[in-house]
């Protein structure tokens, strides 16, 4: 733990961490200092002047909180009249040319200008001259739409492209009333993290063309979850809403702070994976090309298992730890071979050393933990004399060429227990719908061996059964997530000291040693 220092805020003594600036230090104990340009990931810039605070008996007596370190005995003034006047005047300055088009602005409802206006300003504009008109709806590329009129020139987006992505596409050109955030002519935003500027922008100057006008921010339910676009396991908010007479639909993903995993940002591809949760979903059971209910499909699968001479269970690297445990237990009981073959989920050379990883599956690290074999050889050996392959949400068409898949399906029947329509669902003898990760809960282990958990976010009007339920209906013995967790803690050495029922929000780092011991 960092050292603590004692200081006074408005005469009240508080104990804060030393070495941090005043915004972060005092913010950690629940006292907010208003700020627009400062962002913990981008550092202090000091251009907005909104965070000016008074220091009693200090020289200088007024300092920007974002650039001032918390020090012992400091007497910070936040509610003095001269500080209030500064906050009020800064807000008035920011709003001089602001178009106040909140009715058509996607940021409305989560906008710093709106919040601070209500808190620190609250007066009518005194401007009598015409506001400066600027360009609106500029396409900055990568799905970012810029509105220069709404911009307050805090330069968060500019600093993001310079410091984080190091691509530097954005800059502020000209000065005073002519100052604009802009791209260089003919060189739009072209990095894989560009949409983070939409979240970074404290106002509505940067909006996402994908989310544009889809929903108002206050309608959205913000459920914490984990992105399953790759093996990084970035923390996200799933913003979803059930409109009247409609189903619960996801409208966007936003990054959620986790210092140990992804920091403040997520990549654009991961952000767009929400579409797979909404569209092209398998919703009914399919038995030999005909749509049926779940129970008929389960019945057909049970019959296939009992008739089969040899069955292979194909686990997906996107299954949660609990699901894998349930499938593994079921495989042992049913005498089936187990494989985690899923080479198609890996895109060699796609990783960029920051957040994006080669492996586009969320939980491959759990294979090692549970001793599930994922190699091509192992799979070939297992299916060589098999006449039934049950895929647990493993999209085999990603890993096998079409000819190979067809050759495999000639000698063996396929049961696809999955979330999405596609090649597997259409070629399967039986397809069973299950809940996808946004509708399910479980634990994941990311590529850096951090174990994280996510909870149910979306509840559909007609919820699909989750995978563990389906496995149980097929004859598995694990009754639910709770039982799976108890079994995991008992049987897996690396999880002996881990309480899977109480995983902290930032996850648990499983040390490499423990995991490699288990795998060996």
């Amino acid at each position: 733990m960092a050292d603590k220092v004692k200081l006074f805020v408005n005469g009240q003594e508080v104990e804060v961490e030393s070495g941090k600036n005043l915004i972060d230090a005092i913010g950690a104990v629940g006292i907010e200092i208003p700020h627009l340009c400062y962002h913990p990931a981008l550092g202090a810039d000091g251009n907005c002047r909104m965070c000016l605070v008074g220091i009693e008996d200090g020289r200088p007596p007024i300092v920007p909180a974002c650039k001032t370190k918390a020090a012992e005995g400091m007497k910070v003034l936040l509610d003095a009249d001269h500080i209030k006047k500064i906050q009020h005047d800064v807000m008035e300055l920011e709003l001089i040319n602001h178009p106040i088009d909140c009715p058509i602005c996607d940021q409305a409802g989560e906008c710093k200008l709106q919040d601070y206006y209500m808190k620190y300003d609250g007066q009518k504009s005194r401007m009598t001259v015409k506001p400066v008109m600027k360009a609106k709806k500029l396409d900055f590329g990568a799905g970012v739409v810029h509105d220069q009129e709404r911009c307050i020139l805090c330069a968060r987006c500019v600093r993001f492209t310079r410091q984080i992505t190091k691509t530097g596409e954005l800059g502020i050109v000209n000065r005073t009333d002519y100052a604009r955030v802009n791209i260089f002519p003919g060189r739009p935003l072209a990095n894989r993290y560009a949409l983070n500027v939409v979240d970074l922008c404290p106002v509505g100057a940067m909006t996402s063309s994908d989310f544009r006008f889809k929903q108002r921010a206050w309608f959205l339910t913000k459920s914490p979850s984990i992105c399953q676009g790759c093996s990084k396991g970035c923390n996200i908010f799933i913003d979803h809403n059930r409109e009247k007479y409609k189903d619960d639909v996801i409208y966007r993903y936003r990054p959620r702070l986790n210092e140990k995993v992804n920091g403040y940002f997520i990549c654009d591809e991961g952000r767009m994976t929400y579409k797979a949760e909404n569209d092209n979903r398998l919703t009914t059971g399919i038995v030999s090309g005909k749509e049926t209910g779940l129970s008929e499909a389960v019945e057909a699968t049970r019959r296939l298992i009992s008739e089969a001479k040899k069955t292979v269970f194909l686990v997906s690297p996107n299954n949660t730890l609990e699901q894998m445990y349930a499938i593994k237990a079921f495989a042992a009981e049913a005498g089936a071979a187990l494989s985690g073959f899923s080479d198609g989920y890996i895109q060699e050379g796609d990783a960029d050393g920051y957040l994006i990883q080669d492996d586009k599956s969320a939980n491959r690290a759990s294979f090692e933990l549970l001793g599930i074999e994922g190699s091509k050889d192992g799979f070939d050996k297992a299916v060589a004399d098999a006449d039934l392959v049950i895929s647990f949400n493993n999209d085999l068409s990603k890993s096998l060429a079409e000819a190979d898949l067809n050759a495999l399906l000639e000698k063996a029947q396929l049961v696809y227990i999955g979330t999405s329509l596609g090649t597997c669902a259409s070629k399967a003898a039986v397809a069973l719908p299950i809940a996808s990760y946004s509708e399910d809960c479980g634990s994941l282990i990311n590529i850096d061996q951090v174990l994280q958990q996510f909870a149910v976010a979306v509840v559909k009007n007609e919820p699909a059964a989750n995978l563990i339920e389906v496995v149980q209906q097929l004859g598995g013995s694990v009754a639910g997530v709770k039982e799976a967790r108890a079994g995991l803690m008992e049987s897996v050495a690396a999880l002996k000291d881990v309480n899977l029922e109480e995983v902290p929000e930032e996850g648990i780092a499983l040390t490499d040693n423990e995991v490699s011991n288990v795998a060996a």
Binding site: D101, C102, R212, F219, K244
Partner: protein, 174 residues
């Protein structure tokens, strides 16, 4: 709630009233008295000939909704969802889209008001920042044969004109 309590004496106990027929005839006398008077001269009727004779509606009356337009005919609504947010009956359903008529950026592509669910409270009118929705059509009776016909679409709402002049409407307190 401490009001003055007046205890009414229960009638119908004495013999005169218990004979019953006398009271019946007294009642019928009143009825036939009205009937004869109205039959001979109906200019002094105490009730309105409703379907033929419509009541006079004031500008403040909250009738069926309409969406207003700018002078050039483009709709004022910018799909800000304030009315939908404010609606206590949740009867307004909006879908927003890109604006195509050259004004600003946003407009509704779908704007449904379910009149069977609407409670005519007028909160939508109060919430609107653009004066785009009003309840000044003077329509107080909406009839239909199936439920779907009570869902007012964007076109229906735009097509209905206001029943009052701007001055009258403003005088009404808007």
């Amino acid at each position: 709630m401490s009001g003055k309590v007046k205890i009414m004496e229960r009638r119908g106990k004495d013999l005169y009233e218990r004979v019953y027929l006398i009271e019946v005839f007294k009642g019928m006398a009143t009825t036939f008295g009205h009937f004869l008077r109205n039959f001979l001269d109906n200019s002094k009727l105490l009730v309105r000939h409703y379907p033929e004779q419509k009541p006079e509606i004031t500008a403040r009356w909250r009738g069926r909704h309409r969406l207003t337009k700018h002078e050039d005919g483009s709709m004022k609504c910018v799909a800000c969802f304030m009315c939908q947010t404010n609606c206590p009956a949740k009867c307004i359903m909006i879908e927003a889209g890109e604006r195509t008529d050259g004004r600003t950026e946003k407009m509704p592509v779908r704007f449904d008001i379910d009149l069977l669910e609407c409670i005519y409270c007028g909160y939508c009118v109060e919430a609107c920042p653009m004066d785009a929705i009003r309840m000044d059509t003077g329509i107080f009776s909406v009839t239909g044969n199936e439920r779907e016909s009570f869902v007012m679409k964007l076109e229906d709402l735009l097509a209905t004109p206001g029943a009052f002049s701007e001055e009258e409407y403003k005088k009404g307190g808007a």
